[in-house]
Symmetry: C2
Subunit: 347 residues, 2 copies
């Protein structure tokens, strides 16, 4: 029998799926194929955490992030802390001094006003901790979905530090990769709350503003820090894969050196997740010249947020450019950019 309508069936690739928001390969493709080409300009095209926009002659660092985490309150923080810290951190890793944030609330009908108040209090406390003000805002309400929903978009402006050139362009073989602390805690804390995993009550989100830690690092090694990034969606693996792709260099990642708490490692095991791909909200990946690695490490470790900082990897000339995990047993495993969405609505 011949079908009456013989056009090809509409496939899943015609519509947005949750995995398009995972911060992995599918997100990259969605943006590359359907969004960025249409908006292309020299500020947007590098796809860094923010852009330096000339305003009245002086450059202003400008960034934005939308936050859709669920639940909106989780062990160690709330969507309000995320919305402040995430945007502060994006400015800080661009090498800017965060100064002010905008705050746009999209509230679902049915949200208890007491929940809103707690989250606004968290926003105020995180802003004070980070030394930024909420300068402008907007509030919208949408129809009830789950009854406890709130989405927040913040944008941030900051002042660039003088004579600081961060980016992937200066990275050379021999440069080292550091992380500022134990990985995977934000994503695992949110997932544990969602799944009701009782054994992980001691696991808290790491959400924190990194501008102080980053200032401490730049104070001791401004000229030798090549690159900074906060490993949120996609985790440490996502950042390292981006770096290998951008530099054309390989990265040897030392599994034994990657800092992770026993409870986080255990939780990741239970949930079947690779902690390298799990989101962090208070950690920084630093690429520095080998000479400066020790200084950067010491600067981290003397800061309250960097006690577990570690040197975890090295750039090499091995071709093709890959991230390879040197396992505890001495084997090698290729680390890939997560494809889609291990953890929907994690930030």
């Amino acid at each position: 029998m011949i079908p009456i309508n013989n056009r090809p069936a509409q496939t899943d690739t015609d519509r947005i799926i949750l995995a398009h928001g995972g911060g992995g390969e599918l997100t990259r493709r969605l943006l590359a194929e359907h969004v960025l080409g249409r908006l292309s300009n020299p500020l947007l095209d590098p796809l860094t955490d923010g852009a330096f926009v000339p305003v009245g002659g002086a450059p202003v660092c400008f960034t934005t992030d939308a936050y859709v985490v669920t639940p909106v309150e989780f062990p160690g923080g709330t969507i309000g802390d995320l919305a402040v810290c995430g945007t502060v951190n994006d400015l800080a890793v661009m090498g800017a001094v965060p100064q002010a944030l905008s705050l746009a609330l999209i509230i679902e009908e049915g949200l208890p006003i007491a929940t809103l108040e707690r989250i606004v209090d968290a926003i105020a406390a995180s802003a004070e901790r980070a030394g930024v003000v909420i300068a402008t805002g907007d509030t919208k309400v949408i129809e009830r979905r789950s009854g406890d929903g709130l989405m927040i978009t913040t944008a941030g402006v900051g002042a660039p530090r003088p004579v600081l050139a961060l980016g992937t362009g200066g990275i050379v073989p021999g440069d080292v990769v550091l992380v500022s602390g134990r990985i995977a805690e934000h994503g695992l804390a949110v997932m544990s709350a969602r799944e009701g995993l009782a054994f992980t009550t001691s696991l808290l989100s790491d959400v924190a503003p990194l501008n102080g830690l980053i200032a401490a690092i730049l104070d001791v090694a401004a000229g030798e820090v090549r690159f900074l990034r906060d490993p949120t969606r996609g985790g440490l693996a996502g950042v390292l894969c981006d770096l290998a792709e951008a530099t054309g260099l390989s990265i040897d990642l030392d599994e034994a050196a990657v800092p992770i708490s026993p409870v986080a490692a255990h939780t990741a095991d239970m949930l079947g997740l690779d902690p390298l791909t799990v989101a962090n909200e208070g950690k920084c990946v630093i690429v520095a010249a080998a000479d400066a690695a020790r200084r950067v490490l010491d600067a981290c470790r003397t800061h309250p947020l960097g006690g577990h900082a570690a040197i975890v990897g090295t750039f090499t000339e091995a071709s093709p450019p890959l991230v390879e995990l040197i396992t505890r047993a001495g084997g090698r495993r290729i680390v890939q950019r997560p494809y889609g969405e291990d953890l929907p609505r994690i930030c």
Copy 2:
């Protein structure tokens, strides 16, 4: 019979309702009682359309808006046009020259990618028309609701014009109120699309970037323009009630002078809406010294977006401060700030 649980019942006032997002009295109270006190600072407290943030010594005008309009495509525009023009307009009415926008997309699972592409094309076209760039962005995906949902938050930065002092502080009795064109077209176009009203096919959203028109006004009367505002949610009535409250002065509004197209007036009648309270997305309310009113009017009328501009009202010393509509029949009716949400998800 005595109830077992004699705690007071949880009332509707404990939860967010759609009307909290209407831009009227309930929005004002929600922010005043539950949000602003917690975030209070000199930049945020004036509740203007944006704030002047010192960044590296120079002031930057900074603003944000969230857009939740449904449907995302409507006669005369899309959510993408709104997201660009709304934020450009907020910068322009602050007296700034818009320079760059951030773009945060929250996409519902199920959105056709072709729809996303059309909306991103609209964003690009509106940005080009307004002379701004999309400098930075973020994309998140949330679970399917209606299958065609997309919410956008933009923030914007712009350079303040030198020696320009806009605000309610300089308004005196005798100052005049102008509107730059026919009112209520955006809200009515979206509602008509939603209700499937066939008779209104000629009614299009007025969404447009106002920075060119406002530059033309300021070119002829910079020192005599007291105040600018784009009357979005809450409409012309909302802006005028805000002005009466802020200045302690009354406003006489001339019904016969308020520009409205016959099709918009007819549609408002059919929908049972007061066009004074309906959202506009390409109109500007201007308060100017009486001496400058004619010059401002001429500047508007020679601009492509201001052909129907009109002088519609006058500030008076009458007490208590009220907005009074002088009807066509010569009567007087008090104009109130809309209470809640005539038109949910209109922008």
